[in-house]
Symmetry: C2
DNA sequence: TTTTTTTAGTGAAGCGTCTTTATAAAACGG
DNA sequence: CCGTTTTATAAAGACGCTTCACTAAAAAAA
């Protein structure tokens, strides 16, 4: 017998025995959420639960306000007309906070369908540590007060390494090291709080709102820093030290340009928006396209092993389209396709995000939706 | 955050009250399997089920022969003496088949603890397609007959891309394309059959028998080809086209040595055992160490993005120790640590496998153990 | 028009599995 | 020798799903 004391019992199967009801409930809710209004009979077919069970679950959801009856189905069919049931996106609101920008924290109130209803900003004014946390807290409080419905929860996308309990283990930009952000917000605001890394949140947003449908998706966020989020079968990869996706300081050129991290040739030192813009500004017009292509190729070379190893189906870039679109994207795609197995390269979709700067806000909302309702 | 089900509903994981029982049963079995003999009260504590439930589950397991009572606990304590219950590795046998070697298919009979009891080989004699499948089938049949206990199932590690139903979608070496291997063996032998890619099987073996305990593990198998298996939280990454880990033909040098795949600079063209040995043979003694180091560095450069992106905790190399140990391993480790985030590089364990050529056989057995009993 | 078929939805009874509560057994400690 | 602690099982109850039986309403067929 493999004597491996202390190895945890399989945590992968999230479905616990007593949780069967909860699971089935979220199965129904998920179907209403992503497939739109359906009759109870439709739900029974798609979930392969019995009509009786569906009836009970739906009336529970209706009594909570999460679902509503929408009247008879349009278009005539044989048999008793079905009563359509739909998800009600206005049942509650979500407060979302994006801490990934340097000078301004951004926040929003969203409905359950991810529609942004209210936005707000709060200048950080260079504050670090507790001070920065206070800015985030005040912004969250302001938005909770502005929400016109019960607040389902508060989602936060933070730079740095975030553990599953919502403690920011390390975020140098904000002067945070072991900052218990989720606990802080929860104790002050009395609402469920979910915190994740900003790039990971952006990846969730692509899955739920950006049309990323493959089972293996990598989302690369390029801004002040460079970060990634990986979704396998819709679930975020967390990593051994919760640092999955922290590839900004992966070295891809040796030797390369120096980086703030103390080393050189980091992905961030070559691709981050300020660094890339600065480099381009130094060049004459005609050499810029080439420099952009070169950067794209570097990225492609770095991503190829990841795409190949995980057999990813989709790679999404989120950042300024004027930098990442066109030549950059083409060069990256070419570099990847030259390097990976043809069958993988052919099927791979490599594209820009359509969510732009809302990705982190939307992703933070997904944290709440999936944490509180089991929906995404 | 919560590992949420993907956008699509997954009717496969439908949870009925009856499934809860199965889950709890495997929870108990898993604990007995990996943590060793315990009393019913111990099991109740570790699984957080009630003593009553444990009592019922344990007597079910005992009646099936999977568990046995081992008498009172050694060493006196307060209270009624506990009766120890243990997993019985000899309750059944497993037939394992390794198709990864070129000239010989290897097979074995193992007990449930992974102890190899009988081995057998079957020469393929260059047969391809149906012929090769027939060799595998005959080998499996021979081993099923040699098993001294009921055969729990048949596990197969095959080169190429294998889908979850056990169909080998593509294995050029064996002339297979869409070969329904699991169905074939199941129909002929009447036992449950589980098929997986050979490198993926080797990764499972490292997890269950090789002491790989981190939540993120990559196992690189270097032999005639080069392949990988990635385990996240104990579960294999499958990939969008079931091709996860197929990194043999990832291009890491451009230009590089030509490869059988038609391109050049593939990982396999540089690292596969025959190619590496051939290259070394051409060199004078003094240059060999350097060539080995160079190969290790190339591997490290290719793996660094993967390790960084997934925040892996452990990388295991399986292959000839005379090639992969020493300079190769050191060079790979150095190359990786130079490139990834220091916090990731420090914690990373990069080592050789201790399972050697049994990895695929053991991993195929794990397929059966986890598929049939839910233990690993 | 009337009857049959098809689809939608709900109530009642039953079954499996977990939990709670109660009880018995066996060891230690004062 | 009697309370305390720990182990284990038995009996009763709760929960949630399924099956079976039924009503409801509309199209299709006779």
């Amino acid at each position: 017998m493999p004597a491996t004391p202390g190895r945890a019992l399989r945590p992968t199967t999230k479905v616990m025995p007593g949780q069967a009801r909860v699971y089935n409930r979220s199965l129904v809710l998920q179907s209403l959420y992503s497939d739109g209004p359906q009759s109870r009979a439709d739900l029974a077919r798609v979930t392969s639960l019995t009509p009786v069970t569906i009836g009970a679950l739906v009336s529970e959801l209706i009594s909570e306000g999460l679902a509503v009856e929408l009247g008879p189905r349009a278009g005539a069919r044989v048999g008793k007309p079905a009563t359509m049931v739909g998800f009600d996106p206005s049942a509650a609101h979500i407060v979302s906070i994006d801490l990934s920008r340097d000078v301004m924290f951004r926040g929003a109130v969203l409905d359950l369908a991810g529609t942004v209803l209210v936005t707000a900003e709060a200048p950080r004014d260079g504050r670090l540590g507790e001070g920065a946390a206070q800015v985030a807290l005040d912004l969250a409080r302001e938005l909770v007060e502005k929400a016109g419905r019960p607040v389902l929860g508060i989602g936060v996308g933070s730079p740095g390494v975030v553990d599953p309990e919502g403690t920011v283990l390390s975020a140098p930009n904000l002067g945070w090291s072991g900052m218990p952000l989720a606990r802080l917000l929860n104790e002050s605001l009395g609402r469920p709080v979910h915190v994740a890394n900003d790039a990971n949140a952006a990846a969730l947003a692509e899955h739920s709102f950006g049309g990323a449908t493959r089972s293996g998706v990598l989302v690369l966020t390029v801004g002040l820093g460079v970060g990634a989020g990986i979704l396998l079968d819709g679930a975020l990869v967390r990593g051994d030290r919760f640092a999955a996706g922290e590839i900004g300081h992966l070295i891809i050129e040796d030797p390369g340009p120096p980086c703030a991290c103390g080393r050189s040739g980091c992905l961030e030192s070559m691709l981050s928006v300020p660094r890339l813009r600065a480099r381009l500004a130094e060049l004459p017009e005609i050499e810029r396209q080439q420099a952009i292509s070169k950067a794209g190729t570097s990225l492609g070379i770095a991503l190829a092993p990841v795409i190949s190893t995980l057999d990813l189906g989709e790679v999404v870039l989120n950042g300024p389209p004027d930098l990442l679109g066109g030549a950059f994207l083409d060069a990256a795609a070419t570099a990847v396709r030259r390097r990976v197995l043809p069958v993988v390269g052919h099927a791979l979709e490599l594209r820009l995000s359509t969510l732009h700067e809302n990705a982190v806000l939307l992703g933070s909302a997904v944290l709440v939706l999936s944490g509180e309702l089991g929906v995404s």
